[in-house]
């Protein structure tokens, strides 16, 4: 028996494109590295408020850069990111509160489905420019991920319960306690220490900390290795 897997937490919000990149990279590596990946749905708006940070896209030159950066990373990292047409309305006005509550409910009731439902929500907002605020949108994502209508409806009913609301608040606060001022945030637990890494561009550093091999954002498939 080898050494115990190290816990790696990923705090993310489906509103954040860089969260999607970090999410896909860690999902690809979770079976290649000796880690236990904990997916932690959080609310980016809460983190911004608590830290006093502002979304980068509010500065016009950063917004401009972001669009080019996402385009290059999309291809390099093989994640099908596509800017929503009305970026500001989607990100700043509509937000992700119900989507992240929905994922919180998935995490509590059907944690084995969390990865797939998260990905389907990103596919909606950051690939097909579809809504993620209406109940119908959440149901559609859950069904696309492989849930039954009944199962999805059951989760939807839970998103306004105090349990789910509190759980999302607690997870967001946990990210803040680790020092988050945006998302994604990766927290590596190593030998009694925690290392908080911000952004999707610290994964090679994460590999270094874990003593694992970095093979780029698209590592050879687990299958190919066997």
């Amino acid at each position: 028996m080898g050494p115990l897997p190290r816990t790696v937490e990923l705090f993310y919000d489906v509103l954040s494109p860089y969260s999607w990149l970090g999410f896909e990279i860690l999902c690809r590596y979770k079976n290649l590295w000796n880690i236990h990946l904990q997916l932690r749905p959080s609310l980016i708006a809460g983190i911004m408020k608590d830290s006093g940070n502002k979304p980068p896209a509010l500065l016009s030159r950063k917004a401009q850069y972001l669009m080019g950066d996402i385009k290059l990373l999309r291809e390099h990292m093989q994640v099908p990111l596509q800017f929503p047409k009305d970026f500001f309305s989607v990100i700043l006005e509509k937000g992700s509160l119900s989507a992240m509550r929905f994922l919180t409910a998935v995490n509590t009731e059907n944690p084995e489905m969390l990865e797939k439902v998260s990905r389907e929500l990103w596919m909606r907002v950051w690939n097909r420019d579809e809504d993620i605020t209406d109940p119908q949108s959440l149901l559609a994502a859950a069904e696309k991920a492989g849930m039954s209508t009944q199962q999805a409806r059951g989760l939807l009913e839970k998103i306004s319960t105090p349990q789910v609301k509190n759980k999302l608040r607690e997870t967001t606060e946990a990210a803040c306690k680790y020092g988050a001022f945006g998302l994604p945030v990766t927290v590596a637990h190593l030998d009694g220490h925690t290392h908080m890494l911000f952004g999707s561009d610290r994964m090679e550093l994460l590999a270094h900390l874990l003593g694992e091999k970095w093979m780029g954002p698209v590592p050879p498939a687990v299958n190919a290795k066997l």
Copy 2:
């Protein structure tokens, strides 16, 4: 004869620790990849002003993160970064105007010395916590880089000429035209297109764009390859 080397410009300021990381990585790769590296000393204060951006360390949670990040990257990237004791005075009050004018003069008169003198200035401010604003500091860095006292003094006399002042302003404006809102900025010229990459964490993406191999921040030495 192989294909012509692609031009890669690196805009940097010795006040910026992430510029140092980008600088060392590109200096390591410049003979491993088929590139022509152009080092372009710029003024970060000018870029911040022009873009309306604020130094990240002004947000306390970002400042906190920066310190941990630099510490981890120092080891991972093997660049001896060390936070100056009075960070705010060094970065926000003292600044780098004379240092970057000095490097501009080096670039004009003795371009073959630019890499070494830049590194010695970083060693002063971001390793030994020494001044980089007094003429004596600039002379000391130049001499440590291998210049004669006479040569260094000749360059120092040039830093208040309109030629040098204008040249630094022009380089800073060029970075802004590429869309800079901070430093380092790497600009890759490929097949008639330019790609602007911000930060020290886009070097693997740069390799991808160039069709070159990324071997981590510390590639096997050129010598070891031969």
